[in-house]
Symmetry: C2
Subunit: 292 residues, 2 copies
Amino acid sequence: MKTCIDCIPCFFRQALEAARLASNDEGVAAEVLRKVASMVTDLDMSQSPPAMGQKIHRIVRETVGIDDPYRQIKKTFNEAALRLYPEMRRLIGTSERPLETAVRLAIAGNIIDFGVNGGVRESDVERAIGECLAAELGADVLSRFEAAVRDADEILYLADNAGEIVFDRLLIEVLPVDKVMVAVKGSAIINDATMEDAVVAGLPRIVEVIDNGDDAPGTLAEGCSEEFRERFGRADLIIAKGQGNFETLSEAEKHIFFILRAKCPVVAKRFGCAPGTSILLEHGAIRDKTEN
Amino acid sequence: MKTCIDCIPCFFRQALEAARLASNDEGVAAEVLRKVASMVTDLDMSQSPPAMGQKIHRIVRETVGIDDPYRQIKKTFNEAALRLYPEMRRLIGTSERPLETAVRLAIAGNIIDFGVNGGVRESDVERAIGECLAAELGADVLSRFEAAVRDADEILYLADNAGEIVFDRLLIEVLPVDKVMVAVKGSAIINDATMEDAVVAGLPRIVEVIDNGDDAPGTLAEGCSEEFRERFGRADLIIAKGQGNFETLSEAEKHIFFILRAKCPVVAKRFGCAPGTSILLEHGAIRDKTEN
């Protein structure tokens, strides 16, 4: 997905929120915005928004001199999600359609996205759970998802944010875990989950977890490690969480289920829906194994 | 009032709205945003936001090749305000405190500001009238305003936007019109009122109207005509409408009453109020005439 001109004011909003989070010095924040402006003067609009997001947040970290401005936010939301975990697990356990309930909760967790909204509160997460349990998802795509999970040999699950990764665990627990590998980000980018968050969520105890070697808020193959690219190429089913993975993989030639909450107006417009809509989208054709 | 870093994302939002209004070509809008970014790379934060607004809208007009992107919007809101005029005049005529009611309506008209919000609708104006008639204004400042109007020898009324200028007429009609001169903008800038709008509002029939010779969305002395500067200097009372005039004149050594709706978060914060609050603010000391 290419960058849209509507993304440009949003880049500055995001840079300002990140700079203020990282530093109390308004002069430093102004310096960050000037550097972002300098980048925008010759912006390549054919890149995806997360490619720009990666550069913006590198500028923030370098200008302020902090390696992870979102560390405390990630900790806060991991803990909040872990408090919600037992009740959500019970919901799935008593559900007539556990996979569907788990997908809905995984979508709810996607509200914890400090790239799109620097003011997410714990009460927003609780409200999102209620909304996503009631949202329209489509029985067709749910049954295709169920079939795809059953038929796949290797499933690569691309996690999105900290806190949200606890919600991902709930979905992963109802998948055939032996076939699943989870990938997190290689290093700090916004509040995206890294290996530290996967560990806090307890994921490595139930499934293989790798990091993708990159600090883009999405999946940009060129920045990822050789190991990640190899696993990505080999997987016959990708489960991609969040807007950033959608924006970076919407043209990928893979069989992908995108699971997200369409939060910003640009992404929502792409789906033809209102911001806040729950999305489970199948992308790409299922490879006919008899042809290989 | 200096530019705040929160203004920077807003500059891009405003540039995008203006570019889209002026052209259907997204490439042209992208070009506008790149030029604005280039300006921001060495932005002088000691300037007021309207100084930057002036540059942004010059870029929009020059890049698109249109001298007045807001012409239709100004026409629409002049007409809407003129439709509301008879009923509002009746309200003032039957009011126990006609000056106060006229001030409240003048504040309501300030919602028609396409710099702060490119999506103002006529229904917003009607809602603003109700809000402003009920708003907290402070009896003290109202009686100081009444006294200042009575005691002044020359009153300069700085108009803000088209449409709103019809609301200004209602206030001007309850002022001692022989002492009042109205100033509009010298040429097109956002939806600010120019001489054309003053004529549509019927102002020149009841009061002297000049233009300030400039295209800033506020009052920047250095860009204004000699005549305007002379009249500004001579007036012993300035009535300044809108955020732009507040942002550019908040340090002026004049006796000013600012009349506005605090619309953006930065201006609202300066007043210590929530966005949407009605403001009648006295600024500067009354010159003791016995000392001259």
